[in-house]
């Protein structure tokens, strides 16, 4: 039976985490693979760790805040080291309904199986769609990713993702520490991974605060725009020596 690691990165998510873990544990029993759950605490100052430990899931505590990317990469490194076949990222703020994990897994049945499945709220416009300002930012990132990597995605900022063995091998080595989602798509594309999207429903965050607000959003757009181009160039060069040329993504 194939093994799946459900990675929940969390920073000060005591309000949303308990309900989310309960939901994940309920859903776990219905998934067609052997699942383990790990909460990666990114240096929380509230009782996030306590909530996670009481729930009986695995808890990895980072001794300092690394950013969402550093926390996700920790989970991916755990999955890679322990020989999991897949890992799925479910954000600790409760935005990603665990019931949708099955839809991401379903997408693996397509032949050839993709290396990475990105949950998109924009394919069928189901559920929470985020604010108009964020959608404008997403539109720019969609255009930019297409211009730089020829990658067509509808939801470049989605963190609801399923990683296959090749993606785990790549991302346990290289993963952006802050605002990593669009950059990791460029890395995946340059690394020759097959990336597909799957329509999912998302919710509003169930607690905590977003790290992107006010002036940070301006910094976010500038940083991510530069990072996508740099990541594609850097990893394209690396993958030309290590792996076959990049496969155009669906």
């Amino acid at each position: 039976m194939q093994r799946l690691l459900i990675v929940i990165p969390a920073l000060n998510e005591q309000e949303a985490l308990r309900a989310l873990i309960d939901e994940v544990l309920r859903v776990r029993a219905e998934l067609p693979c052997a699942c383990e759950v790990v909460v990666v605490d990114d240096g929380s100052t509230d009782s996030t760790v306590g909530v996670a430990e009481k729930s009986g899931v695995r808890v990895v505590r980072l001794c300092r805040n690394l950013g969402i990317g550093g926390a996700v990469q920790t989970g991916l490194r755990l999955a890679y080291r322990e020989g999991f076949d897949y890992a799925v990222q479910v954000d600790g703020d409760g935005q990603h309904p665990p019931s949708e994990i099955a839809r991401l897994l379903d997408r693996l049945r397509v032949l050839p199986p993709p290396d990475m499945v990105v949950g998109s709220r924009r394919l069928e416009l189901r559920g929470y769609q985020s604010t108009p300002a964020r959608r404008l930012g997403q539109l720019w990132l969609r255009v930019w990713l297409y211009l730089v990597c020829r990658l067509r995605v509808t939801d470049p900022t989605s963190g609801f993702r399923l990683y296959g063995p090749k993606a785990l091998a790549l991302f346990q080595q290289t993963y952006a520490y802050d605002f990593p989602e669009p950059e990791s798509l460029a890395v995946a594309c340059a690394g020759g991974l097959r990336v597909v999207e799957q329509s999912v429903e998302m919710r509003q965050r169930q607690g905590g605060r977003s790290s992107i607000a006010g002036l940070t959003s301006v910094y976010y757009m500038i940083k991510v725009t530069l990072a996508v181009a740099l990541a594609y160039l850097r990893n394209g060069k690396r993958s030309r020596t290590l792996q076959p040329a990049a496969i155009p993504c669906a």
Binding site: V38, V40, R58, V59, V60, R61, L62, C63, R64, L66, G70, Q73, T74, R77, L78, R81, Y177
Partner: protein, 126 residues
Amino acid sequence: MSPVELEADRYWPFAVVCLVQLLLLLRLLLRERITLQGSISYLGFLGLFLLAALFPEATGRIARAMGFKVLSNFLFCLAIMALALLHLRALVTLSRIEARSVHLTQDLALLEERLDQALDRELTRG
């Protein structure tokens, strides 16, 4: 009058500042507060500026050859370039240390989790 205004007697304070910095750097090196590997470029630049301040005529000839009309402009340019290079070097070192620190933090967290699991198993068995 020479195109480069040489006011050799006014450059000695500059030489003193360089010398004081050199001594401070040596003290830090002796106390192992900084590494020789990391400070060698700093030492190099300070030595260069000290020579420029001690031999302003020679420095003036180099400045003239490079098209500077006032010696102090040449020294300012040299200082800005030196600082930019030193900053770039520090940035490279800092970035490398940051990446290493992230990996070590992750490794530590993963090892702690394995240790906790092993201890739990021991306790259950015991």
